[in-house]
Symmetry: C2
Subunit: 314 residues, 2 copies
């Protein structure tokens, strides 16, 4: 398989093509992923999430530059579930390419939602697996917001970073339990802004409530990404957590991630089959019209599609 | 059907029980929704999204109080895809109950993700339909963040509000195209803070790029929700948009929403069937273990589950 060879040799074009295949849910992607999967597990997968405007992209870029200076290769997947654009079409991406794009030891790719059929979490996991198999030492998965999609994506990483900024003030409780629980390391970026201490203290008090099953106490790292300040410390914290996680293997976490992966994939495959078999071309729009006019309800329609697909509804 | 009667009489307990049924994906919910569906379409559904910390809850509360003063009944669904808690367990909810909770003309309910099987968008749409059938004049759906889940939920409303705060500064571009396109009305809350004019100007220039197919120009309303300032204007803007939308029916938008609704429901039903038939009890964990140890890959496992469920994979 020529494409696989190209990926294993870390050829940018082969990697980009493979990611497009999994992104489009191309059927040939299945065969490729069968080959890719046994070759994964060497890269350190770093997930980065946090509120919009927290400076995550800059932070990720500076972290990537840091790793490159230590001669480590870095793959970056920037996930934007709210954007209809993909494959490098995001504005920020073009800017980033100027710093990192010409370096063959670094690969950057944007992924976004295509239409309303979902599959972004699955496609992202596949893309990460491809970069892992390609031999990148670090694979960074960066998301735009803090919705459930982002949480699902980031919690599949080996190390999860949650990025905050000072001055979220009394609104820090909006960083809900869900986010608190996935953060292995908390970063207060823009730490030259007012209110750092207050944000830090509030974060500490929130963290003191959460009791992690593995006993890890998530550190708080302060950074000014635009000035590359705190990046070394962040890299150290990531390394420390990796050592800790190796010594305290959280079997349940890995298992939960794999369950999620199976379910995502199952959901997508089933939908593809049902839409192919249960609905004629243009049929979905006609069925939706019946819902709009209240002629029929969605429940009745879905029962019918399932019956038509040959999947007898129970 | 006693439950249906209770809902149609707007009994709080019946409504709460019905929402729990749809939230848990209970099979008896299907029969109920068949009954509910033809009785919907009278309420005005108002969707509210925006970045965390924008003060959405307070804004929604003040808007609800405003409608109550005009003797209109209000149902509120607060959706938090990142929280594992549901049914009023969210801290903010208890605080809100103090203002609005004892008023029989107002119903408040939180909805959150349960486990990793999804279905939140579907459950929210069902809950909205229940409140609509119950005869609430206004149904407000409020989300916590701006992820894809939130966008999917809010775009099914009759009117969508996007809430911003001043001082997002140069980060306003993080409010991506996806969000810009769903906003029928933009609210700059906390309009007593610095930077209002700048945020307004940036928002205006972003809005000038987006050409809506229906020709509507989304207004920008400035509010200070904590002081109930701007709420009257917001209510007027909502009413104006409703008049406009009635005169310019966006058939495509309604159809796209209905398509999304069918797909969500189909996806969930298929997954339920496949998990029930294709996996023995505790089997998912065992299969996930094989993925963790790299004994087998998720693609092979999913193929097997689909075959076992009697759905022949194509």
């Amino acid at each position: 398989m020529q494409l696989l060879e190209g990926i294993l040799q870390r050829q940018t074009r082969a990697i980009a093509r493979a990611i497009s295949l999994v992104e489009n849910g191309d059927s040939s992607a299945d065969a490729l992923m069968h080959q890719i999967f046994p070759r994964t597990g060497k890269a350190l997968i770093i997930g980065v999430t946090g509120s919009p405007g927290a400076g995550k992209s800059t932070l990720v870029d500076k972290l990537a530059v840091h790793y490159r200076q230590k001669n480590e290769t870095v793959g970056i997947i920037a996930v934007d579930p709210s954007s209809p654009f993909s494959g490098g079409a995001i504005l920020g991406d073009r800017i980033r390419m100027q710093t990192l794009g010409t370096d063959p030891g670094c690969f950057i790719r944007s992924m976004a939602t295509r239409g309303n059929l979902g599959g972004l979490a699955r496609a992202t996991a596949d893309a990460v697996a491809i970069l892992d198999a390609a031999g990148f030492d670090k694979v960074i998965v960066e998301t735009v917001g803090v919705g459930q999609d982002e949480v699902d994506i980031v919690k599949t990483a080996d190390v999860s970073l949650v990025v905050l900024v000072p001055g979220m003030g009394d609104d820090i409780q909006t960083i809900k339990a869900g986010i608190m629980e996935i953060g292995d390391i908390f970063v207060i970026n823009k730490a030259d802004h007012d209110g750092v201490l207050r944000t830090e203290r509030e974060l500490e008090s929130l963290l003191s409530i959460v009791q992690r099953p593995d006993g890890w106490n998530p550190p708080i790292v302060k950074t000014v990404a635009t000035q590359s300040r705190g990046i070394e410390e962040l890299s150290d914290s990531i390394a420390s957590y990796k050592v800790f996680a190796n010594e305290h293997p959280a079997g349940n976490r890995r298992n939960a991630i794999a369950q999620q992966r199976i379910i995502e994939l199952l959901r997508e495959k089933l939908l593809t089959i049902a839409l192919k078999r249960g609905i004629e071309n243009g049929g979905l729009e006609a069925l939706a019209s019946q819902v709009v006019t209240k002629e029929r309800d969605p429940y009745t329609i879905v029962e019918e599609i399932i019956k038509k697909s040959g999947i007898i509804s129970s």
